[in-house]
C-alpha cells in the first residue's frame, strides 16, 4: 500500500533543495564575474537574473523547509531527481536570452545536455558566442559531471547524505563520511584542473600560437568539458579545431581523469596501483578498450579511410577513447563519423554502450556492470556443465574480495537492461521519424549513455518529440534511473496514496 507523503516530507525536500539552489546561485557568480571582466554586458544581465532566480528559490526553500532536515532514502532520491529537473531549467535562462537558440526548448536541451555531461548541442552560431556564455556551457558540464548535489554536500552538512550521494549515481564510498568523500572528489578535480589547464595553456600559447588570453580561455573550457567527460568545446569544430596531436594528448589526460572512478583515484593517491589494476572494473574497461581499438583500426583499414598508420592510429584511437570515456570530442565531422561502417561502427557502438567507470563522471552501462554480467553468465555456464552437486562460488575483486551474490547480479542486470531499453526506445522513436536504423541507434545510445557524439541527427530542426525523448534519455541515463523511479513513485503516491 502506498502511503501519501506528508507536508513534512515536502518541507524536508524543499529545505534540502533550497540549499542546493543557493550553491548554484553562488556558482553562477563565476560566469557573472567573467562577463563583467570581458565586457559581455548582455550576458551579464542574464547571469544576474539566473543568480536571482536560484537565490530566491533557495531562500523560499529554506523558509518553507524544516530547519534541520533529516533526510531518509526516498527523500534523498526525490531531491536528486527534482534537482536535476529544476536546475537545468533555471540554468537555461542565459541561453534563452542569448538569441543563439531558436526556442526555449532548444535552450533547455543544451542545458540538460550540459549538466548531464552528454554534449549533444543545438546551439546556433557557437563561433560568435560570448566567452562568458561559452564558459557557462562548460561550467555546467563540470558541475553536472562532479554532481550538483555532491557540490552542495561539500558545503552543507546534513543527514541523509548517503542517499543524495548514491542518487546521483555515485556508488563508491571510500572515506568515512559522505562529506569527506565529496571533498576528496573536489580535491581530485582541483589537482587535475591545475595540471591540465597549465598544460593546455602552454600548448595553446607556445605550440599553437594563440594569444595568451585565448590560450587560457581554451584551456579552462577544454578542461571543464574533458574532466566532466561532457565533450563541449569552445569552437564549432570540436577538438578538431586545434589541429594538434599534442593538444589532444594533454586533453585526453583530462578525459582519463574524469572517466576513472574516484575510488580508483583514491587507490592511486594512497600509493596502491596494484590494487587498482586488480579491480574487475579496471580489467573490464582496459579489455573493452583494447578490443574496440583493435576493431576500429581493422574497420578503418578495410574502408581505406586512412592510408597511413599515424593517421589511422591518431584518428581511430582518439575517437574510440572519446567514445569509451563518454566524452564525445570529435576530430572529424559528424558527416564523416556517420560514414564509418563495418567494424569501425561496431567498435564505436560497443565503446559508447559500455562507457566508463562507475562513480566517475563517465556515462554508459559502466565497465563494472559489464564485468559482473560476464562473470554471472560464465557462472551460469559452469552450473550447466558441471555435475549437479558441484558447489560454485564466484567472487570478484573490487577494492577487496567480494562475492557475486544473486542480489548483486539482479541489481546489475536491472540497470543494464534499463540502459539497453533506453537505447532501443530512443532508436525506435528515431525510426518513426524516418532515420536510418544505424543513425537512429547511434544517436540514441549517444544520448542515453551521455556520450555526445553525433552523426548529424541532433540539430535545431530535429522533431520536437525526438528532442524530448533524447532529453529524457540524457536525464535518466545520468542518474542511472533509480532517482527517476523514486520521483515517479513519490508523485504517484501523492495522488493515489492512502
Amino acid at each position: 500500500m502506498l502511503i501519501r507523503p506528508h507536508v513534512e516530507d515536502v518541507r524536508l525536500i524543499g529545505a534540502v533543495m533550497g540549499r542546493i539552489f543557493l550553491v548554484m546561485a553562488t556558482a553562477t557568480v563565476l560566469p557573472l564575474v567573467w562577463a563583467a571582466l570581458a565586457g559581455d554586458w548582455h550576458p551579464f544581465g542574464s547571469f544576474l537574473l539566473t543568480i536571482g532566480v536560484f537565490g530566491l528559490l533557495g531562500v523560499v526553500g529554506l523558509r518553507v523547509g524544516t530547519e534541520h532536515p533529516q533526510v531518509n532514502w526516498s527523500h534523498g532520491m526525490v531531491v536528486v531527481a527534482l534537482t536535476w529537473l529544476v536546475v537545468p531549467m533555471i540554468s537555461a535562462i542565459p541561453f534563452v536570452l542569448s538569441g543563439h537558440f531558436g526556442d526555449t526548448l532548444d535552450a533547455l536541451f543544451d542545458s540538460v545536455s550540459a549538466l548531464t555531461t552528454t554534449g549533444l548541442a543545438v546551439i546556433s552560431d557557437l563561433d560568435h558566442l560570448a566567452s562568458s556564455l561559452n564558459f557557462w556551457r562548460h561550467l555546467l558540464q563540470f558541475m553536472g559531471g562532479l554532481g550538483i548535489v555532491v557540490a552542495a554536500l561539500t558545503v552543507f552538512a546534513g543527514s541523509g547524505g548517503i542517499s543524495l550521494y548514491i542518487g546521483e549515481a555515485r556508488g563508491e564510498r571510500f572515506l568515512p563520511s559522505i562529506i569527506s568523500t565529496a571533498r576528496f572528489l573536489w580535491a581530485v578535480a582541483i589537482v587535475h584542473f591545475v595540471l591540465v589547464v597549465t598544460g593546455l595553456t602552454v600548448v595553446g600559447w607556445v605550440v599553437l600560437g594563440f594569444e595568451p588570453g585565448r590560450a587560457v580561455f581554451h584551456a579552462i573550457n577544454m578542461f571543464l568539458a574533458g574532466f566532466s567527460t561532457g565533450g563541449f568545446a569552445p569552437q564549432s569544430t570540436s577538438i578538431g579545431y586545434y589541429h594538434s596531436a599534442i593538444f589532444e594528448v594533454v586533453a585526453a589526460t583530462a578525459m582519463a581523469g574524469g572517466a576513472m572512478s574516484f575510488g580508483l583515484h583514491h587507490s592511486l593517491w594512497q600509493g596502491r596501483p596494484k590494487d587498482a589494476l586488480a579491480n574487475l572494473e579496471t580489467r573490464t574497461l582496459l579489455s573493452s578498450m583494447g578490443i574496440t581499438m583493435f576493431l576500429v583500426l581493422v574497420g578503418l583499414v578495410m574502408t581505406e579511410a586512412f592510408t597511413a598508420i599515424p593517421g589511422l592510429t591518431r584518428q581511430g584511437l582518439f575517437q574510440i577513447f572519446s567514445a569509451h570515456t563518454t566524452t564525445g570530442w570529435a576530430t572529424i565531422s559528424s558527416t564523416e563519423l556517420g560514414q564509418w561502417g563495418g567494424f569501425a561502427f561496431v567498435a564505436m557502438g560497443i565503446a559508447m554502450a559500455v562507457g566508463g567507470m562507475g562513480s566517475a563522471t563517465a556515462g554508459g552501462v559502466k565497465a563494472l556492470r559489464v564485468g559482473l554480467t560476464i562473470k554471472a553468465i560464465l557462472n551460469q555456464i559452469k552450473q550447466v556443465l558441471l555435475p549437479e552437486r558441484a558447489v560454485i562460488t564466484t567472487g570478484y575483486y573490487q577494492g577487496g574480495k567480494m562475492r557475486l551474490t544473486p542480489e548483486v547480479v539482479q541489481s546489475v542486470m536491472t540497470i543494464s537492461l534499463l540502459y539497453v531499453g533506453s537505447y532501443l526506445l530512443g532508436a525506435g522513436v528515431g525510426l518513426v521519424y524516418g532515420l536510418p536504423l544505424k543513425d537512429a541507434l547511434f544517436e540514441s545510445v549517444s544520448a542515453a549513455a551521455t556520450i555526445g557524439l553525433s552523426v548529424g541527427v541532433t540539430d535545431p530542426s530535429m522533431p520536437v518529440p525526438l528532442q524530448m525523448v533524447y532529453m529524457v534519455e540524457m536525464w535518466a541515463g545520468r542518474l542511472e534511473f533509480m532517482a527517476l523511479f523514486a520521483l515517479l513513485g513519490f508523485v504517484y503516491a501523492s495522488v493515489r496514496g492512502k
Partner: protein
C-alpha cells in the same frame, strides 16, 4: 582559310589544355565537409569568414577556421536568426599571409570574409590524418566589423531585484526569534 582554320584549332587546343592551368574550382565549405574525399588533393576556391583564433606556429604556418554558413552574412549578434550550427573547416596559410588581417570573428565581431585558394588536404598522412585547406592565396572580400548587442536593462533590474529580495526573505533562526520573545 588555312590561317583561320589554324586559329580555330589552336583555340580548341588551348581550351583543352588551359582549363587545369587556369582554374581552381569554387566550392562551398559544406561541399568540403560532406564530400571531402572526392576533393582530396584538388585545388579549390572557398569563400567564408575567418573565425576563432589566428595561431601563428613556429613551423611557419598560421592556422584558423573558415566558416561558410548563414552567419557569414549576418551573425546572430548583428540581428541574424538562429539557423543551426556553424559550418567550418580548418585552414592553414604561410604566417606572412595571415599577418595584417582583421581580427577573426567572435563575440560581437564579424571576421574578415575571404576568398581562399588552395589544395584540399583530405586525411593528410603528413599530419596524421587531418583534413584542412592549405591556402596558397587569400583575397579579402569584406572587411571585418564590430557589432553591438546593447544592454538589456530590464533583465538587469529584475535580476538585481530578485537578489535584493533574498536577504529580506532569509528565514530568521528560531532561537533568535525565541530570544526576542
Amino acid at each position: 582559310m588555312r590561317r583561320v582554320l589554324g586559329l580555330v584549332l589552336g583555340m580548341m587546343l588551348l581550351n583543352v589544355f588551359a582549363v587545369p592551368v587556369l582554374g581552381a574550382t569554387e566550392v562551398t565549405v559544406s561541399v568540403l565537409i560532406d564530400f571531402g574525399a572526392e576533393w582530396a588533393g584538388e585545388e579549390v576556391v572557398v569563400r567564408g569568414e575567418l573565425v576563432g583564433d589566428y595561431g601563428f606556429r613556429g613551423d611557419g604556418w598560421m592556422w584558423t577556421q573558415l566558416n561558410g554558413d548563414a552567419y557569414v552574412s549576418q551573425p546572430i549578434g548583428d540581428g541574424g536568426r538562429p539557423q543551426g550550427g556553424n559550418s567550418g573547416v580548418g585552414i592553414r596559410m604561410p604566417n606572412e599571409m595571415g599577418r595584417g588581417l582583421d581580427p577573426p570573428g567572435g563575440y560581437l565581431r564579424r571576421g574578415p570574409v575571404v576568398k581562399a585558394t588552395g589544395v584540399w588536404k583530405w586525411h593528410d598522412p603528413s599530419r596524421q590524418g587531418e583534413s584542412y585547406l592549405e591556402v596558397s592565396s587569400l583575397e579579402v572580400i569584406e572587411e571585418g566589423y564590430e557589432m553591438d548587442e546593447g544592454v538589456d536593462w530590464g533583465v538587469i533590474v529584475v535580476g538585481a531585484g530578485l537578489i535584493l529580495l533574498c536577504p529580506i526573505l532569509w528565514p530568521r533562526r528560531r532561537h533568535e526569534v525565541s530570544e526576542s520573545e
